[in-house]
Structures are given as C-alpha cells and as structure tokens.
Symmetry: C2
C-alpha cells in the first residue's frame, strides 16, 4: 500500500520538487469522516472495523484510456466515473459502500490533472460516505485507473444474479441507452449535455439497491448492455425472459437525437448506463422515491431472451460490450 502520508523528510534524503508521496499528500489525503476507519492512508495497509452481524461485499473495476474512455475525457469526470462504476456493482448486490482503494497508473505527474481527478473521485465517494483508505500511484505508458470498494450488507441479505424465479417481473431503473449515445456523440466531438453526462457521470443506484434487499430476487447492473447483462442474470438463474421492447424506458433527449432504430440499438446493447436490472414479484416493489422504475418483461422457463414489439417476436443480435474480441 503506497498511498502514503509520510515522506522522507530527513536532510539526507533529497527529492525533486514533486515526488509520488507529495502528490498523494496534496491531492488524495482528505479528512476521513467515514465510520470504521481505524488507520487510513499512510501505513503499509488500512485497518478497518467491520460492523458486527454484517457480511462484506467487495468489487473491483478498471477503466483503461482508449478502451473504456476517450483520452479527451475531463480528469474529474474520469475520477467520478471510476468510483461510480464500482458503486454500481455494490448497488446491484444491495450493499452499503464503505471503503475504497485506488490504483492509478499514468504517464506523468501532471499535478493539475491529478488535482482535478481527485476532485471527481471524491465527488462520487462523498455522495455515499465512502472513504479512500489506501492506494498506489505508478507511472505507465497510458492512463489505467482501478478502484476497489468494500461495502457491507446484513447477513444473508446480498442480492445475487442467481435468484430469478419464473413469473418474476423484470424491472429496470432510470432510462437506458443514454450513456452509449452520449459516448458516441462525445467521441465524434459533438457532446450532448444530457446524454454525454450520462456516460461521464453515471448515477449508481446505491440507495435503491439497498432498498431492494429482501424484495428483489435477482439483480445486475447494466454495464455491457441491457440484453447482455440480463442474459448473464438469466444464465446464472437458469431461466429465460420475455421482454416488451415498447416498454423499455428511453429518455426524451435520446428520442429527440436519434431515430427509433438507433434508440433501440443504444437501449438494448449500448451499455455504460449503470442502471439496475432486477426481478421481483410484481406487487412487492419498495418505494423507489425519485428513481424511475419500469417493468419491461417477465421471467420465463426458457433459457434465452424473447423480444416482442406490439406482440410480434423480433430478433436482436447481441452487440453488448466484450473485451478481447
């Protein structure tokens, strides 16, 4: 663990003006208000106090320049996004996020970039009282950012991908397709305020995920595309699904910027939305507060996804995001 608060200060130890430890001191070490942090940044490891009667949930996700985000993304948006995509995995398990570690690889020690990155990172973390407790900054050819988050959940409370039951209603939060459309516009140099912000600053459904504990039978977050992620849930649960294409929630900005075919392509296969897709008994939904929740289909005894449009079966080839192809 090298996100260290200490640095060699003795006269014998001569450093150039800015070294790794100073960088970290300046931008990443902030007041740690989160509960359960006994020792944060500055030792070989962080020491954390778990709450009695809670299980831990741990997730890790990496964003690579050129693969997961365009090089021209603002540093604070990248910092926000890398935390949000991990929070989304915690949310999909019904967990409460608590502690975060960071591994940041970058070509040079651009202090303005690091300061901005840290601002975005903390913006996302502070929304959910997540403490940065350690990390490692390294030099590499291109920017690679890994965030790991540990959360917790009541014993036996975690929501799994494997619990979907035949007859369950399939729900999705928010709207889908916005982020993929936003990325396309961003990459083309024609960013749209709303759609592009849905890509760079995704909203992790953390509170609603916790509210689903005890109600949702299965959940997954939409990172690779609605069809691809739903299929993972179905495969793990050993069930199938029937989806009504017309019910899939599509935002007004997506409707007004793209034709119906593009809307559906983004919504079904686009990915990066970080909304939750979950299954539950139809009448069992918790109060979703300000979160829009839409029923889009139901779990069947099949093995795959049947899409219907006004009752007729339609075919959609999967183009969900895959690495290494």
């Amino acid at each position: 663990m090298t996100l260290r608060r200490s640095r060699s200060a003795a006269p014998k130890f001569k450093h150039k003006a800015v070294d790794e430890f100073e960088l970290i001191n300046r931008y990443f070490v902030r007041a740690n208000e989160a509960r359960g942090v006994i020792t944060g940044i500055g030792d070989d490891g962080a020491v954390l106090q778990p709450d009695a009667g809670r299980e831990l949930i741990t997730v890790i996700d990496t964003l690579v320049e050129g693969t997961h985000f365009p090089g021209q993304i603002a540093a604070d948006d990248l910092g926000y996004r890398v935390v949000a995509v991990n929070l989304s995995d915690i949310a999909a398990m019904g967990g409460r996020p608590r502690w975060m570690t960071l591994a940041l690889t970058m070509p040079s020690s651009d202090t303005a970039w690091i300061e901005q990155f840290a601002d975005g990172l903390y913006a996302a973390a502070d929304e959910h009282d997540v403490a940065l407790v350690g990390g490692d900054t390294t030099r590499g050819e291109s920017t690679v950012v890994t965030v790991q988050i540990t959360g917790d959940v009541a014993e036996g409370g975690a929501i799994h991908r494997s619990g979907a039951k035949v007859g369950d209603t399939i729900f999705v939060t928010g709207t889908v397709g916005d982020a993929a459309a936003g990325l396309e516009l961003l990459s083309a140099g024609k960013p749209d305020d709303y759609l592009s912000s849905r890509f760079v600053r995704p909203i992790a459904r953390v509170s609603f995920g916790q509210a689903l504990v005890g109600t949702a039978h299965a959940a997954i977050d939409i990172s690779d595309g609605l069809l691809a992620d739903l299929q993972k849930l179905l495969t793990t649960s050993g069930v199938g699904a029937e989806i009504d294409i017309g019910q899939i929630p599509i935002s007004e900005p997506l409707r007004s910027s793209f034709d119906i075919d593009a809307q559906r392509r983004f919504a079904l296969s686009g990915g990066d939305d970080y909304e939750l897709c979950f299954t539950a008994a139809d009448d069992a939904l918790p109060d979703s507060g300000a979160v829009r929740v839409t029923a889009i289909g139901r779990i069947t005894a099949g093995a795959s996804i049947v899409c219907r449009d006004h009752g007729a079966i339609v075919e959609y080839a999967d183009s969900g995001y895959r690495h290494f192809q």
Copy 2:
C-alpha cells in the same frame, strides 16, 4: 466486478471462440477452499464473512510493465510477484491474508500467457490460503497488474509504522540487496539463479509478521530500499536511528557476485526485497523459526538515519525507488 463465471450461452448470443468470460472461466476460477467466502467470482461482487472480533487490513499494489518489471519476465513469475508484494504489506501490519481481487490489463488475450500468469498467482496465494474472489480483465497498451488483498488481525493488534520507541532495537528479516542485484542481472540478460529469483519470487514474511503482533513496536516492508523505508518508519514515529552498516545481512551470492560498494548500494538503497524491518525491545523477539532475523541498529531521539561503519559515521545518499522522478 467482471471476473464473471457466467457467460451468455443462449443461441442468440454469438461470441468468438475466446472472449473475456471464457478466459476467466478457464484460468482464474478455481476451487475456493478459503473460509469466509460466501460468494466468489461470478456475481457483481464477492460476499465475504468476516470473523467476529477481528479488524480488517486492506492493501493494494500495482506492477507496471517497464516500470516495475522488465517485459521479458515470465508470466508465472509476474503472477507470483504481484501477489507477494501485497502479502508483504499485510505481513508488515501483522495481518492474516484472506481474500484477493485482481485487475489485469494486457494488450491481447494471449491464453498461454494468462494460464501461466494464473499458475504463478495461485502459487503465491495458495501458500497463504488466500482466495481470489473477484476481478476485472481489460485490454490496454501495456501490461498493468493490480492486486488488492484483504486480511484481518485481532482488534487493536495491527503493527503500525508509528510505534517505534527510543531505545528499540531495529531488526531486519532475511538478507537485503539480493532483489535489486537480481533485477540488474536480469535486465542485463545475465540472470543469476538465486539473486534473480529473489526479485521475481520474493518471499512475503506472512507468518513471521503475525508472530510479531504484540512484540514489534513498528514495522514496514522493504520495497523501496532499506534506508528509504526505514526513514518512512522513523518519520511516522517521530524518531531517528543509528545503523551499523557491518551488521546488515548480506547473502553469500550477493557477496560473491559484487564488490563491497555494490553490495552496500544494493543492500541500503536497492529495494524489492520485501523483507520486514521492525523495531522491538531487544529481549522481546518471538521465535523466528526458519526466518533469519538480524539486529542492525537502534532507535534514537534524532530525526534521521546515522550510518556507522566500524564506529565511524559514513554518508549514504538515498537512492531508494521513487515514482515520477
């Protein structure tokens, strides 16, 4: 968390022969014997059961191709090493390692490389009953490997850098300088069996670190070099040190391969040894078993490190490893 066991298997979802999920299936998912793993790889996150009355220790460390290891390192050695450097941080806190997550970025899906990497990763993990519970594989320009390990320790038992007391004896495990000498030989295309193996397969002092709980006042692992890491411990503790250069443990292979100046340069500033440097009352040492433990000096009321050679004060400029210089 995308180290997923599930993959889309429905006929509609056509993948090429090897995609990310298959790769992971094949090489990273192994039987999970470790205690406390309720849900491992294959869901949005891992669900883990902490033991009552234990605090958690979490560490994260990254190895970047070209920065931390030469491109020609064997994949299994890299896998072993990235786990070992994290285990070493857990050891320096007195912790018991339990659960590991992996973020692997690489230029292509070279299955032979991944299989070999996984073998090395598990070799290090299996030595200490650490379970791989999740991770993320991504494509990037060069290889970047991040491992995060969560361990535990009795409440209040963690050994910190901050506890060194004036009058403490300073100890170091094993021998120092070997890894830096080994890396130099490796990079020059003249690997030495013993010295190079000390770089590529460092031994994390996990059991001995746990035995130091309640005895050591302060500890740190030697990753950046003995002087540089000791200075971090001193600064955090607000004390100084006097070191007897002649007492520093140097291996026979290092002695026979390099002259005395090079030996001392490697031993004092070389880094990468992953031995423990710790302070304790002189007569309080636990049984170190097969681990060599050497007293090299004592904690003083100063602020920096005074090195003596046969009684005379000698000057050593710090050249401990720093990123971003």
